[in-house]
């Protein structure tokens, strides 16, 4: 936490290089990630943005190796704090899970086991990673519930998941994720299942906790508004690749990739009454049969023959920015 976020030369907390993931299904292998590269500095918040099936959640789950190894083929590299995550043994991996890397689920209603109280589940996780007494773990759980602003924490800890409201459950989920002082927090659409007013509260809470603890966060979302609220950098994903990555301000103000432009164009903003939204034509490609070259080419308004010849290499139009489009201006 002493490193300045994104400082040059500093070892990144997490580095993902050339990550390919394929699932073996009944119809053969489906390539869901086709070479994902990014690095995350300590204390930095990166938002993975994209529509359903673009590979956002798969990226998160691959970092924790949660996919069934029998049905998943992974290549590339994931390095976390100098360790090769993909090469770790199962024992070391389960130390990492919930200890140094914690995951927040999209649907807190199903991510808690219905037959145990939430407090029980938090105590279980704490005692899994730290050799502390039941009483000490319970005290820690109470403290965590206070940190995530749950009123009367003692009583809420004894509640069963169905006895809490959606927002309360997600706060409890965040408390569970923070229980072992992780340095990296993976958040898989943590606000999608909540209504709008609760959503913003949870986002503000996450932002505050992130700054207090100096956490690195990868935040997955399909909501640009949410991304701008919380992230330092945005990575836009399409068909298993990062098509554009850069600081929030730059990506929102001057999107370079036609897909990002399309996404921004189809967002409702102030003063848009009685105007049609510009939807991106077509549908996301079938991952089992990707189009040749740029995956977005069939839907792109600027597509040209060069686009389908080969997958566009990432270009850096400015320092810290990256785009995979042959039309992007070179720096």
């Amino acid at each position: 936490m002493t490193d300045a976020p994104g400082a040059n030369g500093a070892e990144p907390l997490l580095a993902v290089e050339g990550l390919h993931v394929a699932f073996h299904g009944p119809d053969g292998a489906v390539e869901v990630l086709n070479g994902v590269d990014f690095a995350l500095a300590r204390g930095e918040v990166l938002c993975l943005l994209g529509e359903s099936g673009s590979g956002k959640s798969v990226t998160l789950r691959t970092i924790l190796r949660l996919h069934n190894p029998k049905r998943t083929r992974v290549s590339g590299a994931v390095r976390f704090a100098g360790q090769d995550v993909l090469g770790l043994g199962e024992r070391a991996m389960s130390q990492l899970r919930g200890g140094d890397i914690a995951l927040i689920f999209q649907e807190p209603a199903t991510a808690f086991d219905p037959v145990y109280s939430v407090g029980r589940q938090i105590v279980e996780t704490i005692r899994r990673h730290k050799s502390v007494s039941e009483a000490a773990a319970w005290a820690r759980a109470v403290e965590l519930f206070q940190r995530v602003q749950i009123p009367s924490p003692e009583r809420r800890l004894r509640a069963y998941p169905h006895e809490l409201s959606g927002g309360m459950r997600q706060r409890a989920m965040i408390a569970l994720a923070l229980s072992c002082n992780p340095s990296l927090l993976l958040a898989d659409e943590p606000t999608t299942a909540l209504d709008a007013t609760v959503q913003i509260q949870i986002l503000l809470l996450l932002r505050r906790l992130q700054q207090e603890y100096g956490l690195s966060v990868i935040f997955v979302s399909h909501d640009i508004g949410v991304a701008t609220e919380i992230a330092d950098r945005i990575a836009v994903m399409y068909a298993g690749r990062i098509v554009e990555m850069g600081p929030v301000r730059e990506v929102i103000r001057a999107p370079l990739h036609p897909y990002t432009q399309g996404l921004l164009g189809s967002t409702v903003r102030k003063g848009m009454r009685a105007r049609r939204l510009n939807a991106i034509p077509g549908a996301p490609p079938n991952l089992a049969a990707l189009p040749p070259g740029c995956s977005f080419a069939p839907r792109c308004p600027h597509a040209e023959p060069r686009c389908t010849a080969a997958v566009p290499e990432p270009i850096a139009p400015a320092p810290g920015q990256l785009v995979r489009c042959i039309r992007a201006p070179l720096a």
């Binding site: 200890g99 689920f105 808690f112 037959v115 009483a135 319970w138 009367s152 003692e154 009583r155």
Partner: protein, 311 residues
């Protein structure tokens, strides 16, 4: 619940509101409200108590036959002058069987064996089948295929035929009957536990447990077992009545309990010739089987709705 450390001052302010209940407290409260289930539980408790206390409360020796008193009618009928022995008003309240043994005594003693034959095979099958099903459901892959396809073989035979075939091969006797009934009940319990486990395995909280660093064994023990136990247990209770009836059937065919032991199915068989002369006496063991199995079925229905965790 685990030991909870003393609450700090902050919690005391809000503890006046409705306290949250434990899972079993909720189940218990729901059961108390369900009158039918409570009535069935009461009847079963009485039957069980009567069976357990049979040596103390039975008026006669269950094996002592007296030829002159064969096939007496119910004691109440005696008092109406329908008997040749007017003094025997309460000597045999439920009459006597074909060997002159007291029916009340034999029904009480018969309950011991019948309940034992109803519960034991189901319990054995619950342990063996539940374990196999959970392993098959959780591990999946070739383990699942191996276990489930083996189980499918047993489905080729109707359960009654299978029980008769196994008992017939092993020979008569209580132990053999229990073995054959256990084998009969394992396949359906494996089916149920496999499908419940498969559905639990893909739920978020199993992933969440993995994401917080739990190993496969801990997840199985802590999260899967506790969640699948309810449905499997409920299904097993619904099999008890089937087991009582099948056990009675085996005894009826001479493959289960052997005479002179008292068992409801066996009694039904030996009293068969008396169906025209003393129908009320001949039907008595059947009535006992009916009441017990109906009560077990209704009780398992009540448990099902009370133990549903998705509230």
């Amino acid at each position: 619940m685990a030991a909870q450390p003393p609450a700090p001052a902050i919690a005391t302010s809000a503890s006046a509101a409705t306290p949250t209940r434990g899972y079993w407290a909720t189940v218990g409260r729901r059961l108390m409200r369900d009158r039918v289930t409570m009535a069935c539980a009461l009847v079963l408790a009485l039957i069980l108590l009567a069976a357990l206390l049979a040596p103390l409360i039975a008026p006669h020796d269950p094996f002592l036959g007296r030829m002159p008193r064969r096939l007496r009618p119910f004691g109440i009928l005696n008092s109406l002058g329908m008997s040749d022995n007017p003094r025997a008003i309460l000597e045999h309240p439920f009459g006597t069987d074909e060997l002159g043994r007291d029916m009340l005594t034999r029904i009480l003693y018969g309950g011991r064996l019948s309940l034992f034959m109803g519960v034991t095979p189901v319990f054995n099958a619950l342990v063996i089948g539940g374990l196999l099903g959970i392993v098959a459901g959780f591990l999946g892959g070739w383990v699942n295929t191996l276990i489930m396809r083996t189980i499918d073989v047993f489905y080729a035979f109707p359960s009654v035929l299978l029980a008769i075939a196994i008992s017939g091969t092993l020979g008569a006797g209580i132990v053999n009957a229990i073995v054959s009934l256990t084998v009969v009940f394992i396949p359906p319990i494996v089916r149920v536990s496999e499908s419940v486990t498969t559905s639990v395995r893909t739920l978020d909280y199993v992933d969440a447990a993995r994401a917080s660093g739990l190993g496969t064994l801990s997840i199985l023990r802590v999260h899967v077992l506790r969640n699948v136990f309810g449905p499997i247990f409920i299904y097993a209770t619904s099999l008890i009545s089937v087991s009582i009836i099948l056990a009675s059937g085996l005894s009826f065919l001479g493959l289960g309990v052997e005479p002179p032991n008292a068992e409801w199915g066996l009694m039904l068989n030996t009293l068969r010739p008396a169906i025209y002369t003393r129908p009320e006496v001949a039907a008595l063991p059947g009535f006992a089987i009916l009441v017990t199995s109906v009560c077990f079925n209704l009780l398992s229905d009540g448990l099902r709705s009370a133990m549903d965790v998705r509230i």
